[in-house]
């Protein structure tokens, strides 16, 4: 039976575009105990790990989602040619401030970054990574910003508590140059390379 539930869930996760919550899965499978779903998901996740294939099961944005492993990103990008998601340094800093300080108003963000952030905030809103939570009872009634569910999905976070804890600053050497590039095999060099595709060109 639990075997069955595991694969029912797999089929649901396969067709769902958004992360599926335990509640949603409980409703479809018609079980009352979350534990049953959790155990089946755990088993499914372990199966993916053991197989070591293209997918992994991830808890994101209050639900679960099947995602492709980062190793295969370069190939997928050749197929789909998605619009680049990566943000500029300014946008990443602004987003980090909103994420860690939310609910936060624009002047607080600008205070930390020392520059005007209006344009960046607007862009982050357009990308649906942040949203307006309301207005603060201050002169000028400034907008209050917070992150969205989309933010959790994009950055592979289960919820806001999963944000990596900001580290303490000790000296000038502390701000590490974070991993600039994840060590993916270059398309064409690894053995899983799909043939010898030419460099993708956008029309």
């Amino acid at each position: 039976m639990s075997q069955e539930i595991k694969y029912i869930l797999e089929s649901l996760l396969f067709v769902a575009s958004d992360p599926l919550s335990i509640e949603q899965m409980k409703r479809v499978v018609n079980v009352s105990e979350s534990r049953v779903i959790r155990e089946a998901l755990k088993a499914l996740g372990e199966e993916y790990e053991a197989r070591g294939g293209a997918f992994f099961l991830k808890a994101v944005a209050g639900g679960y989602q099947i995602r492709t492993r980062p190793e295969y990103g370069p190939w997928i990008k050749r197929l789909l040619q998605p619009a680049p998601v990566r943000l500029s340094k300014a946008a990443m800093e602004t987003l980090a401030i909103v994420a860690y300080k939310q609910p936060v108003i624009r002047s607080d963000i600008e205070h930390i970054r020392g520059v005007d952030c209006g344009g960046v905030l607007r862009m982050l809103m357009e990308k649906k990574l942040i949203r307006v939570l309301g207005r603060k009872a201050l002169p000028g009634r400034p907008l209050i910003y917070g992150t969205t569910r989309q933010f959790l999905e994009v950055f592979e976070l289960k919820d806001l508590t999963e944000l990596p804890a900001p580290e303490e600053v000790e000296g000038p050497e502390t701000p590490r140059q974070g991993p600039e590039q994840l060590s993916f095999p270059e398309p064409g060099t690894a053995e899983k390379s799909p043939g010898e595709p030419h460099q993708a060109k956008k029309a």
């Binding site: 067709v15 492993r69 990443m92 800093e93 020392g114 520059v115 309301g134 990596p164 900001p166």
Partner: protein
């Protein structure tokens, strides 16, 4: 040509005064808790001068920071009076604290960016749900302000006359209405224009709702479309 290259580089490197300050601190390998303020101030001003020579517009924020540095530098030169309240505080804390905060955020931003990013590193199966929904034939057009006002007039007409002059003390503000609407849209993603106006709503509520919608469009929180066939106006959460 050479100048152009520099121009791009400089603006790329320094997002703002904090960024420049941090760059100088790292370059000189000094501790942010013991900043040689005279040295850093001089170098900071040198950089501003260089930027000016290269015709880079220097944002006002850079000048403010220069003033702050100069102010701290002058404070450092003054003899410390035991009696004054701030005697014990290092004047440099004025920039050390924001620097600390900025470095923390920079580190946090870098760590966020190093995660596996959806749409960049990892991907999900995106099912084109639209094909499975029955109303794929429906066509939506963007409505202009006048159509919105027409719809608004229609709703005003529908309210009973005795409701029209009902002056009540506790009115809902546009701000509160926006957060209510956001809550509704968070849950439903989209809603028809008419559904937002309850039948027994008073005039204030209707006006406030309308103003809230306009404000939300301005803030790019929502998009409003009108269906080509039925004329139904629908509000979509961005």
């Amino acid at each position: 040509m050479g100048e152009d290259v520099y121009r791009v580089k400089l603006t790329d490197i320094f997002e703002g005064p904090m960024d420049l300050l941090l760059f100088l601190i790292k370059k000189n390998e000094v501790n942010i808790y013991d900043i040689p303020i005279a040295l850093i101030t001089d170098q900071y001003l040198e950089y501003l001068e260089k930027m000016r020579e290269m015709n880079i517009d220097i944002a006002g924020e850079f000048i403010v920071m220069a003033a702050t540095l100069a102010h701290i530098k002058s404070k450092m030169l003054l003899p410390v009076h035991e009696e004054t309240e701030e005697a014990g505080e290092d004047p440099r804390l004025e920039i050390t604290r924001p620097l600390e905060e900025y470095m923390r955020i920079k580190a946090a931003a870098e760590r966020l960016e190093s995660r596996h990013i959806l749409g960049e590193d990892t991907f999900v199966r995106r099912l084109d749900n639209k094909d499975m929904l029955p109303d794929t034939q429906e066509e939506w057009v963007q409505v202009d302000l006048f159509e919105l006002i027409d719809a608004f007039q229609r709703i005003l007409k529908n309210i009973s006359p005795d409701k029209r002059m009902d002056l009540t003390a506790d009115r809902i503000s546009v701000r509160d209405r926006i957060s209510q609407l956001v809550d509704i849209l968070e849950r439903r993603h989209s809603i028809t224009f008419d559904a937002l106006f309850e039948e027994n709503a008073d005039r204030t509520m209707i006006v406030v709702t309308f103003l809230a919608l306009l404000e939300m469009v301005r803030l790019a929180l929502i998009r409003i479309y009108q269906q080509a066939d039925t004329g139904i106006i629908r509000i979509f959460y961005q």
